[in-house]
């Protein structure tokens, strides 16, 4: 899922300072799981803002609403109506959700409450780690289910750099070297032969942003994108 962190309160407060009525829109999917932008966090942010605004003597109303997913048109369309009475919107979604919402509410300023960090996993409550750089070319099948693009700090495709110290990464002594882990896992599975061949340069042309993916079943409908 997508992992995000809430921005410092002061930054959010300053973004919406010029506006009276502000609607805070939460997202009930990834950012709710990582405790950054779900319904609860929307409530918390609203309370914080209310307090700060009262102290500063600023008038205005703060609305709260959380949708299932802000990255899905179906879920955000009703927000057009909900946002009508507000001068500005704060979105607690990831960057994708914020942009989708901003495109929908074209006339209205939409501000992000989060910094989107990575695609990762939920290690334990409150502990998230990165796993995927969405690089358009998955190597996991040959690298033993450990991603060299993401888990190796340098994203090296052909083995470890010269900086590995006692199996730990050059960049962070607390973290295992991804290439040592890849090697160890493949060795234990008797699959080391898979990484013997030199992998070619990564096809970065595919990663040119913004990316588009069209499911084969929809090819005809969206032929223009082909």
């Amino acid at each position: 899922m997508i992992i995000a962190e809430r921005k410092p309160f002061k930054e959010i407060q300053e973004m919406v300072a010029p506006y009276g009525n502000v609607l805070i829109v939460g997202c009930g999917t990834c950012v709710a799981v990582c405790l950054a932008g779900g319904e609860k966090e929307v409530g918390l942010l609203a309370a914080q803002l209310k307090l700060a605004r009262n102290l500063a003597g600023q008038a205005g109303r703060l609305g709260e609403i959380t949708v299932e997913r802000q990255c899905d048109r179906e879920f955000i369309e009703p927000l057009q109506e909900s946002a009508a009475d507000y001068e500005a919107v704060i979105s607690t979604a990831c960057g994708a959700g914020v942009q989708f919402l901003a495109a929908l509410l074209k006339e209205k300023p939409v501000f992000p409450a989060l910094n989107t960090t990575f695609i990762g996993v939920n290690e334990a409550a409150g502990h998230y780690t990165e796993r995927c750089r969405s690089c358009h070319q998955c190597y996991l099948g040959i690298t033993g289910g450990i991603c060299p693009v993401t888990m190796c700090t340098k994203g090296l495709l052909n083995g470890p750099c010269g900086g590995t110290v006692a199996g730990k990464c050059e960049v962070d002594p607390e973290r295992p070297c991804a290439w040592c882990e890849i090697y160890e896992r493949l060795e234990s599975q008797g699959r080391l032969g898979q990484i013997e061949a030199i992998l070619p340069l990564h096809p970065h042309s595919r990663t040119t942003s913004p990316g588009t993916v069209i499911h084969p079943a929809y090819l005809r409908r969206y032929a223009a994108h082909e």
Partner: protein, 294 residues
Amino acid sequence: MSKLKDALAAGGFPLVVEVKPPKGVEVAGMLAPVTGLNGQVTAFGVPDNEHARMRLSALAAARLVQEAGGEPLMLLTCRDRNRLALESDLLGAAALGVENLLLLSGDYVHQGDHPDAKPVYDADSVQLLQLARELMAGRDSAGNPLKGAPTFFLGAVVIPEAQPLGPQRLKFRKKMEAGADFFVTAPIFDLDRYRAFRREVVPDGVKILACLKVSSAEEVEKAARGELRKVYTLPPAVIQELSGGDPEEVLAKGAALAGRLARQLRSEKLADGVYLKAKGRADLAAAFLQAAGF
């Protein structure tokens, strides 16, 4: 044309001395070893933003070394350039007469003085060797033909004391396959460990320049406290030998030790030459030469 190549081929035990491109444009200090030691030194290693600290460009520095009468061995890292820049710098090097190259991934940006810089690593060191080979064959990495193909003598790095050794061996094999003509090791202080690596891991005929380093007092103290986090180790006897005295004395002892190690590597045929890191200082390199008896 490469003296380094000829010396390695002839078994001449070449010495490469590293110079230090300045942070700034005052190049006299960088060139001191070139003007002072030329004749006793086969080539001069020119680091590329070493430890991710921004310095004068390795390509310009390599050319300056050449104009001062030395033969450069230019380092080129994947950290700061995408494939376009790597290839065009390689062509630039060739056009300026820089033939010897040491191709490496490069220390990560966090280690250096521009920690917020975008790390590139579009290619890794194996792929960079392949890029250079492609250029030599008259094509760029996209398959476009070149007007005039460059000539290079290609080096790569190997870490004798890597732990675990398996992944490093894999990388070493890939670098050989990708066309490395010679290897430069990580610094060697522990001859026993290096001997084991040389005998067990390095196939016959592979040319190795053993890196010898003159350690600073700070590094020796760190090693003594067990806090040196490096890809090489200083054995207790070496720490004891280098410890004590003011920073200059430690450096002098380091140069003498490096000289002794070089002599031994040569007599035991454990290396084909030496890559000396002596802070870019001509006096320390001279002290090394004296101790080595070269």
